[in-house]
């Protein structure tokens, strides 16, 4: 792919998505051109009307011009109104298509194919980028189209009156539409780098000053830090002053070209009238039309800026869309074993090796695990030991490299991911709560759940008593990311949802994460209570309460280093026993 193609491909692909809105886009452009044309027409007909009237003809001969002036006077605003409505409608339609396209792609990538899923702000930026693409139909294409259409019509009209004047206007408009934006862009680019560096320095010193304020004040160093921020500020202000000199250049040059077009029209028109090549009445039209015509190019610099923004957003969006999916379902997936659906299947892991990407180190290295029906196994270990990787593999979010994972005898790699997830469920530490009601968040797990089933699940997660105290009960809204709930309530709601789904195999990933120790322990105890008799894999770095599970697997560096029951591991006196003692000591204070 050549360099220019790399630059333009994202824009072309955005345009391809905009194709269904083509008719509306065209209509918006024509309406916009008509609005600008009406403004120019108003000036041109008014000039003609006045010049002709000065010859004192019968009023009847002016009738057409009078109607024209009134028509242009009224229609301009109406055309503009229509353009904006149609343009916005087209942009929103593009947005709908963009969102669905991006969503479908992300559906294949989530959650392991895109680092953004682990960082909320990256995801928010991607969504902003998608939304920014609609500007292509709102602030870029119509503007260029309008300038082209109305510009051609105006130059045509003036050329028809006097070709040399038409040429002058054409040159002036072309220079204003192409050379001026190019010049300002070039100048701006030169200062951008210095500006970015100054901004970075300022931002770093401001963050240091405000976040480090306690340290600074305690050590009497606030004055120095303030001075440093002021220094960075002074540099930024100096850069801005330098930029200011070039900033006005575009506007000044455009104004100059517009004025020169008027001077040029008179310079060509006056001799033409003298020599009889031009009717004197039309001289007024020649001289006054360029005044209105330059409105055409005034919006182009901001269109160019918008184009640049859209291009950058498009490059990022399509960069994500081109990410290969981490895991592709087999072309002809095997059916789920009947035993698995009935909840009587064993999950068997043998020699499992997995990593998050081709360049990443091994996250799991030769892991064996059995989860028989009704048994509960805990996987423990410090962060980075591979616990969450194991969950991702079992949920079919992440492919495995070597070894085997079978569900009721069928290899996981021969099954469709969606099928696997009807059997193996997850209560994630960062389970998402949708900005909706408690009930809708619960029903995600089971559309047709009866009120009793909802209440049972809530009771199992020890949330029912609280819900019953709420004035709106299950209709209570949870807020963005469940912001209106406490950390413990959020976590419990996620667990209740997973319990409601009644997966034959349930993976609980760090159920106590983000909670204070007492709340976390309570939740773990409640969960171990609620999952009695279900095939459950508990992933945790906290050991309290694990006396209740059938087997504990200790992971370190992606390998199983110890396994056994709580009592066996304590008797062993190695890593598990050590962590256990430390945890107890820590809790005692």
């Amino acid at each position: 792919m050549s360099a220019t193609e790399a630059v333009h491909a994202p824009l072309r692909r955005t345009l391809a998505l905009a194709r269904p809105a083509r008719g509306r886009l065209l209509l918006a452009t024509v309406l916009g051109a008509a609005a600008v044309g009406a403004g120019i027409g108003l000036m041109a007909t008014s000039a003609w009307l006045i010049a002709r009237a000065a010859q004192q003809p019968p009023v009847l001969t002016l009738q057409v011009a009078i109607v024209g002036v009134r028509f242009f006077g009224i229609s301009r605003g109406a055309f503009r109104y229509g353009e904006r409505l149609v343009g916005h409608d087209a942009a929103f339609r593009l947005l709908a298509r963009l969102r669905v396209t991006v969503y479908n792609k992300l559906e294949g990538l989530a959650p392991s194919g895109l680092p953004a899923f682990r960082q909320g702000d990256l995801l928010a930026r991607l969504v902003d980028d998608v939304d920014a693409l609609q500007d292509l139909l709102l602030r870029v294409l119509p503007q260029y189209g309008i300038a082209l259409l109305a510009g051609a019509a105006t130059v045509g009209l003036i050329s028809w009156i006097l070709p040399s004047a038409g040429l002058v206007l054409l040159v002036a408009l072309l220079l204003a539409a192409t050379l001026v934006p190019a010049l300002t862009r070039g100048l701006a680019r030169r200062s951008e780098q210095r500006q970015a560096a100054a901004r970075g320095e300022l931002s770093a010193s401001v963050v240091d000053l405000l976040q480090g304020a306690p340290d600074l004040v305690a050590y009497g160093a606030a004055g120095v830090a303030l001075a440093r921020a002021a220094e960075a500020d002074a540099e930024l202000t100096q850069v801005a002053a330098a930029t200011a000199r070039t900033a006005g250049l575009g506007a000044g040059l455009t104004s100059l070209l517009g004025g020169l077009a008027v001077v040029g029209a008179l310079a060509t028109g006056i001799p033409a009238v003298r020599s009889g090549h031009l009717d004197g009445v039309l001289l007024a039209v020649l001289a006054l039309t360029p005044l209105a015509a330059f409105e055409l190019v005034v919006g182009l610099p901001s269109a160019a800026q918008a184009l640049e923004r859209v291009r950058q957003s498009a490059a990022r969006v399509f960069g994500v869309l081109d990410t290969p999916e981490p895991l592709v379902d087999p072309a002809d997936p095997a059916p789920l074993p009947d035993r698995a659906v009935a909840g009587e299947a064993t999950v068997r892991v043998r020699g499992l090796t997995a990593r998050w990407s081709a360049e990443a180190p091994l996250a799991l290295d030769g892991v064996d695990l059995d989860l028989a029906p009704g048994r509960r196994v805990a996987v423990v270990g410090p962060s980075g030991s591979g616990k969450s990787t194991l969950a991702a593999v079992l949920l079919r979010f992440l492919p495995y490299e070597k070894g085997s994972v079978t569900l009721g005898g069928a290899a996981l790699s021969t099954l469709a991911g969606d099928d696997v997830r009807t059997v193996v469920g997850l209560a994630a530490q960062d389970a998402h709560l949708f900005d909706s009601t408690l009930e809708e968040n619960l029903r995600l797990a089971r559309r047709d759940a009866s009120p009793e089933q909802l209440r049972t699940a809530l009771a199992e997660a020890r949330l029912l008593d609280w819900v019953d105290t709420l004035p709106s009960g299950l209709d209570t809204r949870v807020g963005e990311h469940g912001a209106r709930l406490s950390g413990g309530q959020r976590q419990r709601l996620g667990v209740a949802r997973a319990l409601l789904a009644d997966f034959p195999v349930l993976v609980l990933d760090e159920p106590g994460e983000h909670l204070d120790t007492a709340t976390a322990d309570q939740l773990t105890a409640d969960l171990l209570d609620a999952t009695r008799g279900r095939s459950t894999l508990v992933i945790t770095h906290r050991l309290r309460g694990l006396e209740a599970v059938d087997e504990i697997v200790v992971l370190a560096g992606g390998r199983v280093v110890e396994r056994g029951t709580h009592d066996e591991l304590l008797a062993l006196g190695h890593r598990y026993a050590q962590s256990w003692t430390e945890e107890r000591a820590h809790d005692r204070d």
Binding site: A38, L42, M43, I50, A51, A53, Q56, V59, I66, V69, G73, I74, G77, A78, R80, R84, D89, F92, R99, V100, Y103, A110, V127, R199, A204, V207, L210, Q211, A213, P214, D215, L216, A218, G220, L226, A229, A230, T237, A244, G248, S255, L256, V263, L266, I270, P271, G280, L283, A287, L288, L395, H432, F434, D435, L444, A445, E480, A501, R588, D589
Partner: protein, 555 residues
């Protein structure tokens, strides 16, 4: 919202100079518009009815060229002034904001507020660019140009002046009327729109969860439906919102059309000459242009003023009273007395510390323990002068802390917080925080005492390694030891330690503990603690509970 907040003039003095320049340039613009219109009318009239050729009119044509050039220069100068002033004003507001924030002290700068202020001081204030470069100059023009044009037209043709004079005031009136109508309409729709706008992000962020429950694929249809609903709802709002610009444009163009037809008809009857008619026709649109621009840039102004408003909120808050005494009693020889101390935070219901009394004897190590939320950290904040007591008193050698100059008082304290901040600078500068003029040998001692020597030796650039936001990441234990090195270098008689080992694992804890032990030697120490190992260092333990504060002696 006022178009020009008087506080902007007060807090950012560059605004005044800018306003003066804007008025000068605006006046020049008005004069140039008049000159251009007069020259144009004179030139067309001369060539058309006067039968003059290029030779006779060349002087006027050159004059028109000169006006065009000067007008371009004025446009350039206006932009230059706008950008420069904007940068200056932002700088003045920013430094005012930062100074005030630091002046309010760390007790005021808590939690969310820090992040909000950092955003406001960097990106937030940038919204003023639009206000200064697009809105304010147009506002000045909107006052000068229409009035000048109207007066000049009045001198030429009173009927045209009447048309313009009657329609001009309608523009702001209609803008306000439609603005009010739109707001009522949009307010009603705002909540729905907000929900719909956040929906896409919500669904994308929830994709992993949707996949777990097998609902990810089905959600695409819902997404399409919701986006369509959003489009219809937004279009409904826009249909009304765009009306304001419709009316603005219509008023401007219809009145130009009225003027054109009116002067045209009077030309036929001989009541007017061509030169006047053309002059009036060229001027008429110029009277409306600045008002239309002000309307179009109203959005830019609103964002800028909102940012300024947030800055003013901070600047308008009075600074807390500061003590002035600098004769600080030495905590190495005099006791620190805490009597009936009560501390409240404005955002919490009950007091955080309620009636606490104890004495910190010179040379002793006192450990403060208690559940989280019992006020351990708050107590340290009071001793540091970050938070003012709501009631009660803290005194040293009989002098109330409130009477002491806070900086002088803090100069006898070394403080190791729970999460020390590493500044975006070298390790060396971070350690020298409290004593920038320390010798290299002293820094090296502090590094060794804090147990940092091995780490520094392992770094290729040693103490000159850049740390902090853009530098090498240090672990929690390493940060803690940098803070201890700061405290060693500070060499102050009073040492305040806030859970110095709370986030550390066993091995690191031992290293930090040893350093704390060395640091405590020969100093008066108050530490808050969680772990038993730390308590072993203490001479006495103070247990903070919800109701009782009791001091128990250790055997």
């Amino acid at each position: 919202m006022k178009p020009l907040d008087p506080r902007l003039l007060r807090y950012a003095r560059a605004t005044r100079a800018y306003l003066v320049v804007s008025v000068l340039l605006g006046t020049a613009t008005a004069a140039l518009i008049l000159a251009q219109a007069w020259l144009l009318a004179r030139l067309v009239d001369g060539a058309f009815l006067g039968g003059q050729g290029l030779a006779e009119l060349s002087g006027l044509l050159l004059a028109l060229g000169a006006v065009v050039v000067v007008r371009a220069l004025v446009v350039w100068a206006s932009e230059l002034a706008a950008h420069r002033s904007s940068a200056l004003v932002k700088s003045q507001l920013r430094s005012g904001l930062l100074e005030r924030a630091v002046g309010q002290g760390p007790g005021w700068l808590r939690g969310q507020r820090t992040g909000d202020l950092a955003t406001l001081a960097t990106r937030g204030i940038d919204a003023l660019d639009g206000y200064f470069s697009r809105y304010l100059p147009q506002l000045v023009l909107a006052v000068i140009v229409p009035v000048t044009v109207l007066l000049v037209v009045l001198g030429q043709d009173w009927l045209s002046a009447l048309i313009i004079g009657l329609t001009l005031p309608l523009i702001p009136v209609f803008m306000i009327l439609i603005g009010l109508q739109t707001r009522r309409h949009t307010d009603r729709q705002f909540r729905t729109l907000q929900l719909l706008a956040g929906y896409f992000l919500d669904v994308v962020a929830g994709l992993p969860t949707l996949k777990v429950f097998g609902r990810a694929k089905a959600q695409a249809t819902t997404l399409r439906e919701v986006t369509d609903t959003y489009r219809r709802a937004t279009m409904g709002t826009l249909r009304i919102a765009f009306l304001s610009s419709l009316v603005l444009e219509m008023l401007a163009t219809i009145s130009v059309a009225l003027v054109a037809v009116s002067v045209g008809l009077r030309l036929v009857s001989g009541g007017l000459d061509l030169r006047t008619a053309l002059f009036v026709l060229v001027l008429a649109p110029e009277a409306y242009l600045p008002l239309r621009q002000v309307g179009a840039n109203f959005h830019a102004s609103a964002e800028g003023l909102t940012a300024a408003e947030q800055v003013f909120e901070v600047l308008d808050q009075p600074l807390p009273a500061r003590g002035t005494r600098t004769d600080v009693p030495d905590p190495a020889t005099t006791a620190l007395e805490i009597r009936d101390l009560v501390v409240r935070y404005p955002d919490r219901d009950g007091p955080v510390v309620d009636g606490l009394s104890f004495t910190l004897e010179p040379g002793e190590v006192l450990a403060v323990v208690g559940a989280s939320g019992s006020g351990k950290t708050t107590l340290l904040q009071v001793l540091l002068g970050f938070v003012a007591p709501g009631a009660g008193q803290v005194s040293v050698g009989g002098v109330d802390l409130a009477d002491l100059d806070p900086d002088a008082w803090r100069s006898v304290i070394a403080w190791v917080p729970q999460r020390p901040h590493l500044f975006a600078s070298t390790l060396d500068a971070n350690i020298r925080l409290g004593r920038p003029d320390a010798t290299d040998a002293e820094v090296a001692r502090a590094v060794a005492d804090a147990g940092l020597a091995d780490l520094v030796a392992a770094l290729p650039r040693g103490l000159q390694t850049v740390v902090g936001e853009r530098g090498a990441g240090l672990s929690a234990g390493e940060r803690q030891r940098v803070a201890l090195a700061r405290a060693f270098l500070r060499n102050a008689p009073l040492l305040l330690l806030d859970e110095p080992t709370s986030n550390l694992d066993g091995a690191t804890e031992a290293v930090v503990l040893a350093a704390v032990q060395r640091l405590a030697r020969g100093r008066t120490v108050l530490l808050t603690a969680h772990r038993p190992a730390l308590l072993a260092l203490a001479d006495r333990v103070l247990r903070l509970d919800a109701d009782v504060a009791a001091v128990e002696a250790l055997q």
